[in-house]
């Protein structure tokens, strides 16, 4: 009898708090978005599942001694995002960017979304109840980088309490890029601009692809050491792939290693989706600011492309400016799709890959600035 009572008192039904139930619903919602809607399933499925597991009463899966507690160390120490960045680096082809380097400037312009939403976060402090510190604001702003591992890395350093909401916002909006970007792109361009065909790219030699990651690393070492963990691991992965001499390491970095780390990272991010940290008015602010960040980044990229078009002798289709937010490769695909709508012979995909990967570098640079100046 005692046993039965103690068993009843150990059931989930008996111990549930409203917050836990709500956060579990959030977890199920993320699973729904991942599975049914196809929103970034590689991340949102483990994150959603981690949210459910960590909100189970009594079980303590995210508390000291639980599985998610141990896995979370990989985020706290910055190990997981950096390993993912290495894998992403190994998957990235910088060819289109090297063929047309000035598209890098589009990747620079799109980072305005980061700093604009940082300001936005500070402005929201006017609302009673919201109190974002400069660190919080910086971590929120990085959502505008549209790059998951960078956002998680920065948030884990500057504002671990907001990590869950920031990661969820970053991946959700990345999945929403095909919905968020087109109206902005259409509003800022004329039909004629969208019709612009870009001239075919030159082929990029293997030597250039090998030298590039080293050059990128060197520049980052000289100018912005605080960005070198991110840029360094990215360059390492890229070099492993481009050099062609360590094919088996490159394959492992791109496949098994990144898959294992993705599972662990997703679950650990999910473990930060607890009621205490997530069910705050701050979260609404973060979600709103994240959407703005993406929109502003997109707009900045497009406007920058229009400005460059005025001064450049070779034409640039402004649509590819929107790809500068990163969100590889969705943003480049969106640019390609809109280009085809206006001109069925206009394949922008390769041209948009340049600003797209430049956006990854741009947000890593922005992350470095934030990590070194926001104390």
């Amino acid at each position: 009898m005692e046993n039965l009572i103690s068993l009843w008192q150990s059931t989930g039904i008996y111990n549930f708090t409203g917050g836990q139930a709500f956060m579990m619903l959030v977890g199920f919602l993320l699973l729904f978005l991942a599975i049914k809607k196809g929103f970034e399933p590689l991340l949102l499925l483990p994150i959603g599942f981690g949210a459910i597991l960590s909100n189970i009463p009594v079980a303590g899966i995210a508390e000291e001694g639980g599985l998610l507690y141990y896995l979370y160390f990989g985020i706290k120490a910055g190990i997981f995002p950096l390993l993912i960045f290495m894998g992403v680096g190994a998957m990235t082809d910088f060819g289109p960017m090297i063929a047309n380097p000035k598209t890098l400037l589009l990747g620079a312009a799109a980072q305005f979304g980061i700093f604009a939403s940082l300001l936005g976060a500070l402005a929201l402090n006017a609302i009673p109840g919201l109190e974002f510190t400069l660190k919080d604001a910086a971590a929120i702003g990085i959502i505008g980088g549209a790059d998951g591992p960078t956002a998680i890395y920065v948030a884990s350093k500057l504002s671990p309490d907001l990590l869950g909401a920031i990661a969820v916002a970053a991946y959700s909006y990345m999945a929403l890029v095909p919905l968020i970007q087109p109206p902005i792109m259409r509003a800022l361009t004329t039909e004629d601009e969208r019709k612009i065909e870009m001239k075919q790219m030159r082929a990029v030699s293997k030597a250039e692809k090998i030298v590039f990651p080293l050059m990128l690393l060197l520049l980052s070492i000289l100018l912005l050491p605080s960005a070198t963990p991110l840029i360094g691991m990215f360059a390492l992965g890229n070099l492993m792939n481009a050099s062609g001499v360590v094919e088996r390491l490159s394959q492992t970095a791109q496949n098994e290693l990144i898959n294992i780390v993705t599972i662990f990272l997703g679950l650990s991010v999910g473990s930060k989706l607890n009621a205490h940290a997530f069910l705050q008015i701050e979260t609404l602010g973060i979600l709103a600011l994240g959407a703005c960040a993406f929109a502003i980044g997109t707009a900045s990229g497009v406007i920058m492309a229009k400005i460059m078009n005025r001064f450049s002798d070779t034409p640039i289709n402004p649509l590819i400016g929107a790809a500068g937010v990163s969100a590889v490769p969705m943003a480049a695909r969106v640019a390609n799709k809109l280009g085809l709508e206006s001109n069925p012979h206009n394949f922008l995909l390769m041209h948009a890959m340049g600003p797209n990967v430049a956006g990854v570098i741009g947000s890593a640079v922005a992350a470095g600035v934030l990590l070194s100046l926001v104390k």
């Binding site: 000035k102 620079a108 940082l118 400069l134 030699s205 250039e208 050059m215 520049l219």
Partner: protein
């Protein structure tokens, strides 16, 4: 609060400045590097792998054989 906004604005200008500075220098560096590489290591450009998509013209039996072989191979791998 106003001080905080001030820091934010400053951070925005400095940050965007650095981002543009960094990527502009990268543009210059790439241009320099490309011309150096093309002058001193004028190798043939890396051609991308072309995978022939000819499945439709191949009789069904061959495809079945391949499927079976792949399946066996895959099972052996595990």
């Amino acid at each position: 609060m106003s001080e905080l906004m001030g820091s934010g604005v400053e951070l925005m200008f400095v940050g965007m400045g650095i981002v543009f500075l960094f990527l502009t220098m990268l543009v210059i560096a790439i241009n320099l590097m490309s011309s150096l590489v093309q002058r001193f290591f004028p190798e043939a450009p890396a051609t991308t792998l072309v995978v022939p998509v000819v499945t439709s013209t191949i009789d069904k039996q061959t495809v079945a054989a391949i499927t079976a072989a792949l399946h066996q191979y895959r099972n052996k791998q595990k």
